[in-house]
Amino acid sequence: MEEYVLVMRNEDGKKLASPEQMQIWMKQTMDWIGGIAAQNKFVSGTGLPFDDARVVHSNNIVTNGPFGDIKETIGGFITVRAESVDEAVEFAKGCPVLQGEGNSVEVRRVASR
């Protein structure tokens, strides 16, 4: 069994959805994670709120948030256990973030210790 990180990417962080829509996404995400945990495949995970977000650039210039100059933003990530990358991909397919056009979930194997 390997561990994989599923990184949730939103195409444009500026495109803010309605509060109602966000609440629906939140529930869907909680149910999605709960479903993975119910298969005993959940390892850890966290959301990444946009407040207090900073980007440090190569010339040490610090900007607020990843908005504007970076097109894609990371909304959060979870780590799962899976027999293969294909199983991890199956988990990723259920991620509610994919309902947004242009959004993506990146699946990466965690280097074994």
């Binding site: 149910d31 994670i33 709960g34 945990a37 119910a38 005993n40």
Partner: protein, 410 residues
């Protein structure tokens, strides 16, 4: 004199005397403590039966126990003078057995930590706790575990040997260790409670006794400043909520009545209030233990009406619980909550992913979910559940489901 002995007097005093004796003589002498306590009750039996029950039975028992403890000590002293060593040289050692209420309470708490020691298996911890901290007889323990006396005796003997070899100290763990050691203690108390709540033992009195004992010991932890921590309160809340349904979950024939068929006017609302109090106490600080989540789920189940809010809350609590502590039963319950909060179709898709194919409750859940959607599949699943079911209660419930299904089809 025709005085009634207080119910459970022997059991109650046995555990107090034994615990104090263990503390007095040290962890290597549990058997001696049991013997002296048993001798004390034998003396009571042989005296009270003929001379009547004394004015103050407890004081009588304590005097005899003190006397027997001193005798034992004198006997072994002459052995020690001949070069043997039975007791560690401990400067804090008190020559007299201290049976004050305060020392009884302290000794019980310290002994709880000593018995719930990670060096012995959890079923031994439960057995020893029942024997030493609850004053149960070996046959009662065997009955509760659906086992026999020899097995239990062997198990307890090995456990006592191990505690002696490990030189486990009868004391509260240090500040740095207490949270970790408390986890083992809480697991044992949780399992002790479940043993009573889900036991197949024929004696319903015994089953409820196990639950009450688990609650009593958990309450003991809340009464000491150092162990009155949020997870302890959460566990006690969970136990209160569950036991509030005791009066309603069995019919006159002793058969299980499922939650949805229970008469909620029979629930014990004072226990529900008590549970709410401890759940509130558990919310101090920012600890979130699995017991917090389980207690919150149990709280929602004290509201009988099927509301969206109820099932959505339960679903999210299970989602969290599974991230914190996976168990097959939590995964199955989560899927049931999903069917209530979202839809049966979604729950079926999620259930099929669980593949807990060795678990009868897995097939029972699928049977339940398919009941109105595909009776043929429902029957197939209930039949598989029946083939896997181990207990009489489970078989009965599944058989009832099959009967209802057949009645609806014809």
């Amino acid at each position: 004199m025709h005085q009634e002995v207080i119910p459970h007097l022997f059991r109650t005093e046995f555990r107090k005397i034994t615990t104090v004796l263990c503390k007095h003589f040290g962890i290597g002498h549990i058997e001696t403590a049991e013997d002296i306590a048993s001798d004390t009750f034998l003396a009571a039996l042989n005296t009270w039966t003929y001379k009547g029950i004394p004015e103050n039975p407890t004081a009588w028992l304590y005097t005899v126990a003190k006397h027997k403890a001193a005798n034992y000590r004198n006997r072994t002293k002459s052995f020690q003078e001949k070069g043997g060593s039975l007791f560690p040289a401990d400067p804090s050692y008190q020559p007299d057995l201290d049976l004050s209420a305060e020392n009884i309470q302290d000794s019980q708490l310290q002994m709880l930590f000593a018995i719930c020691h990670p060096s012995i298996p959890v079923e031994s911890q439960i057995g020893l706790a029942l024997r030493i901290l609850c004053g149960f007889g070996i046959d009662e323990i065997a009955n509760a575990f659906l086992s026999n006396k020899e097995t239990i005796n062997k198990r307890l003997f090995r456990a006592k040997e191990k505690l002696r070899l490990e030189q486990v100290r009868i004391e509260l763990p240090s500040e740095t260790d207490i949270e970790k050691r408390l986890q083992t203690v809480l697991t044992t108390l949780y399992l002790l409670f479940n043993e009573g709540y889900y036991s197949e033992s024929q004696s319903s009195v015994l089953r409820e006794d196990l639950c009450h004992e688990a609650m009593r010991l958990t309450q003991l932890l809340t009464e000491n400043k150092r162990t009155d921590l949020p997870p302890v309160n959460a566990l006690l809340a969970l136990m209160c909520f569950h036991s509030s349904r005791f009066p309603a979950r069995k019919n006159a024939q002793g058969e299980m009545i499922l939650y949805q068929d229970q008469d909620e006017t029979q629930w014990d609302y004072s226990l529900i209030a008590k549970g709410a109090y401890y759940l509130q106490q558990a919310s101090r600080g920012d600890t979130l233990s699995p017991y917090h989540l389980e207690a919150s789920i149990a709280y929602w189940h004290t509201l009988k009406a099927d509301t969206t809010e109820k099932w959505e809350s339960i679903l999210q609590l299970y989602n969290k619980l599974l991230q914190l502590a996976y168990s097959p039963i939590a995964a199955l319950n989560r899927t049931y909550a999903l069917s209530k909060a979202n839809s049966k179709e979604e729950a079926i898709r999620e259930a099929e992913k669980l593949q807990l194919t060795g678990n009868p409750y897995y097939f029972s859940l699928l049977g339940e979910l398919y009941k109105d959607i595909d009776p043929h599949k429902a029957r197939h699943n209930f039949e598989q559940a029946l083939a896997l079911a181990k207990t009489q209660t489970d078989k009965q419930l599944i058989a009832q489901n099959l009967l209802k299904l057949n009645a609806n089809c014809s």
